[in-house]
Amino acid sequence: MGAVVLRDIEKLYGDTIACTDINLSINEGEFFTFLGPSGCGKTTILRLIAGFVQPKKGTIHLGRRDITNLEAEKRQVGMVFQNYALFPFMTVAGNIEYGLKIQKKSKKERAERVEKYTEMVGLIGFEHRNISELSGGEQQRVALARSLAIEPKVLLLDEPLSNLDARLRDRMRSELKSLQKKLGITTIFVTHDQTEALTMSDRVAVFEKGRCIQVGSPEEIYAHPINSFVARFIGDTNLFAADIKNGTASLSDMVAISLETQASGRFISIRPQDIVFSTAQDDRPNVFPAKVDTIQFDGSSVEYSVKVHDISFRLTILNTSTLCHNITVGEDVHIAIAEKSIKVLDS
């Protein structure tokens, strides 16, 4: 039995399907991510779990308890909102204390918990500040402390990092993850950012158009995307529609790639880091002469776009100290694609 179990959930807004056919089981203590583009239904499901909206059909269980029709305020589910929703007329401590006052905790206990969670999110000394005096990152910490202070059974995070700048987002990512590990709290995290999903999650559910299309660990999803949408959405990829038969994928009249399997499908996906530069002498399969189109240097890696006849491939080469390719735009090169790294996809 999972900590949160969604069975056959469907939710409509008017005639529009927000999500349908949702079956998920989230384990105790798991960091579980809903990943997908905006409008895919991931936030709706989060709001269903929080109890802000009710499903048209299906059930939601929290542990053994059916909470489908339970009011939001009785669910003991903590939530961090995208815009934090901190009460602007209260101080930092006032916000954190709010849920505890509702729970009618004693003054002493409230003070202890406020201190505990203020410290946990690194905001000691900020207790009496007004919300308007805080930076985005600090507000985020208050929102987190506020929802943790009531010691909820499940923590829901609705794109909490999307309003932070890039550097801070990186830091909060690891802080959030280690905090979750330390507390062991079941956490559901909603994001459209694949990096966040891959770096933080124990498991990821990928959503598209109101449906959950794949669930798995980040490694599984990255290595074995179920379709072209997942392949494109998770990580960077070279995706081609191809004519696939007898272990060969024809990308065009001129370019055919040999495959490891005899599987059939309509697309092939090749990660840019699975293509390498080679030489004419290389006698492995899938070595092609190519011409360098563009080169993009981004510090830790270099991205090349090369043309094999009429087909463009993107390659990512890690920028190690031994990198001495000295490749220039317009140069004639050879590329090699490992057979086992090619994924054949049905849709």
Partner: protein, 559 residues
């Protein structure tokens, strides 16, 4: 909310029906009643009042005068307000913030008090007039402060504020990087003004011009006190009413309201279309610091003169409130000072009554305003009910109604019993005046309370629920604290606008509810200037104190 029990739905519908019943009954029905009266002659439907109006020179002249007054008010106030906005927000000089605050003062001063302050300063025996005569040894008065010139002078002081506020906002929204890029593209200073700055402030200019015109043709206080032979529609309406030609008054009201309503619709359409704010991430405009000492000196002097000009009327009222009225008749400049006038007001029940009446009536108007504005703005901002558009139109309609029109409408609607007044005649009763104050201020009040509801993001309520708070706890601990600054600000705003109100008061007061503004006028006409000014000073004291509170609550609102 997804699930709403049936009994709650029923209560909701009942509430909406009650609200609409009230809005229709006290805003729309009176206006329609006036239209009906204007189309009635001796009990039959007739256009005779309109044909008489448009064929008689005697009634066309006030209409033309009103329009001329409106246009001239727009020009004078446009020039003054825009110039002041640029002066304060484009340049840097010491005392800038004080000047900015002071320039908003005419908003809170009761019109009738300003008019008399002007009379005491610039009138025939005014302090400034006499000082000039004395300084230059003139035999006769140097200028005449009556008629169109006088009205315009008062309007210039009281009505530049619309231009000042909206142009100031526009200037602060000018994206400085656009100016920089224009300079980078080689535009000269004049070119920058015409091609960048002017387009930025044009929407502000056009909308202020419309609002100023509406308030100019609706102005009653200045024309009635210092207009002299310059007759305008609003004063003619009172004359018709006083002579009991209610059908003529109704016709004049319909024509005046028609013009206002037309322009107001244009304004609303324009407001919806025009883009008032620029790019979100723009750099705000940088104030220009003048280095040339001569220009600096000139600017400082201008700022000084501005402060003096704005404060002079207030100063005059306070000064004269401490003067014994008899001594003022004999001396040009006050010689002896006394607290007698104030003691009079606070010791004589008869003299205190108008002040008390105004406080009570302003309170009633504000309370009624709250009761109506809270559900109205809630329905407008937070719900998607079908009749939302109707509520919005009804609460905004009084924007387009001059006070004299509101008064005539109320008289026409409530001089006979009807279902909206629970089958009683309201004309001649105490409640009529608070009702009028309420109608006049409801648009402003709804605007203020709407901001509260706009700030009240749904996620605050959800956050509170997710932390375990019940509906009731969420309402008392989150919703109420969040909307109350706006509600309090709206309440005080109506109070401030009502306590010294003059136009509606003239039309609707009875011996039982004589307000302080009427007491001021009576005081003046009984040559009891000291007493009148003491009333005025008390009014200024109350309105300034409350306005200070309003600004506090408004800051809390924008936090």
């Amino acid at each position: 909310m997804d699930i709403m029990p049936n009994h709650k739905k029923l209560f909701g519908t009942l509430g909406v029906v009650l609200l609409l019943w009230f809005l229709v009954g006290y805003i729309l029905y009176p206006a329609l009643k006036t239209v009906e009266v204007s189309l009635t002659d001796h009990g039959t439907i007739s256009l005779i009042h309109y044909s008489r109006f448009f064929t008689s020179d005697a009634s066309i002249a006030p209409l033309t005068n009103s329009i001329v007054l409106g246009l001239l008010t727009v020009i004078v106030c446009g020039l003054i307000g825009t110039a002041l906005a640029f002066f304060v927000h484009y340049f840097d000089f010491p005392g800038k913030n004080i000047v900015d605050k002071l320039l908003l003062m005419p908003l809170i001063l009761p019109g009738i008090v300003i008019v008399f302050a002007f009379v005491q300063l610039y009138g025939e025996s005014g302090l400034v007039t006499k000082s000039i005569e004395w300084l230059f040894g003139l035999e006769s008065k140097p200028y005449s402060f009556s008629g169109l010139k006088g009205i315009l002078f008062v309007h210039a002081y009281t009505q530049y504020v619309y231009f000042y506020i909206s142009v100031s906002i526009a200037i602060r929204h000018i994206d400085y990087s656009v100016i920089e890029s224009a300079r980078n593209l080689g535009a000269a200073k004049t070119k920058i003004f015409t091609s960048v700055i002017l387009p930025f402030i044009t929407p502000a200019l056009i909308s202020s011009a419309i609002i100023t015109f509406i308030s100019g043709i609706g102005s009653f206080t200045a024309p009635s006190i210092i207009g002299g032979g310059y007759r305008v529609l609003t004063t003619q309406i009172l004359l018709s009413k006083a002579n009991n030609y209610m059908e003529v008054a109704a016709t004049q009201v319909v024509i005046l309201t028609g013009i206002s309503l037309f322009l107001f619709s244009v304004f609303r359409l324009y407001e919806k279309k025009a883009v008032f704010t620029s790019s979100v991430k723009g750099v705000s405009i940088q104030v220009v610091t003048i280095k040339n000492p001569l220009i600096r000196f000139l600017m400082l002097s201008t700022a000084g003169i501005l402060i003096v000009t704005i404060l002079l009327p207030v100063f005059a009222i306070i000064l004269l409130s401490f003067v014994e009225s008899e001594t003022l008749m004999m001396n040009i400049f006050p010689q002896e000072f006394t607290c007698e006038n104030y003691l009079d007001i606070f010791t004589s029940a008869r003299k205190f009554a108008p002040f008390l009446n105004s406080i009570v009536m302003a309170l009633l108007a504000s309370l009624l305003g709250l009761v109506i504005a809270i559900p109205s703005s809630y329905l407008i901002v937070k719900t998607q009910i079908k009749l939302k558009w109707l509520i919005e139109i009804l609460v905004m309609l009084p924007w387009a109604m001059p006070a004299s029109a509101i008064a005539i409408n109320i008289i026409n609607a409530y001089n006979t019993p009807n279902i909206f007044s629970f089958n009683s005649v309201l004309v001649g009763t105490f409640i009529l005046l608070p009702l009028g104050y309420f109608v006049r201020s409801i648009p402003l009040m709804v605007k203020t309370t709407s901001i509260s509801f706009q700030n009240l993001n749904e996620t605050y309520i959800e956050a509170s629920k997710s932390l375990g708070a019940s509906r009731f706890q969420t309402f008392t601990r989150i919703v109420l604290p969040m909307i109350s600054p706006g509600l309090v600000a709206g309440f005080l705003l109506v109070f401030v606008r009502s306590i010294g109100e003059y136009t509606l008061s003239v039309f609707l007061y009875t011996p039982s509810n004589k307000p302080v503004s009427i007491a001021v006028v009576n005081g003046i006409f009984e040559y009891n200037i000291g007493l009148a000014m003491a009333y005025g000073a008390l009014l200024i004291l109350v309105t300034s104190a409350l306005s200070f509170l309003i600004s506090k609550f408004s800051t809390a609102l924008s936090r």
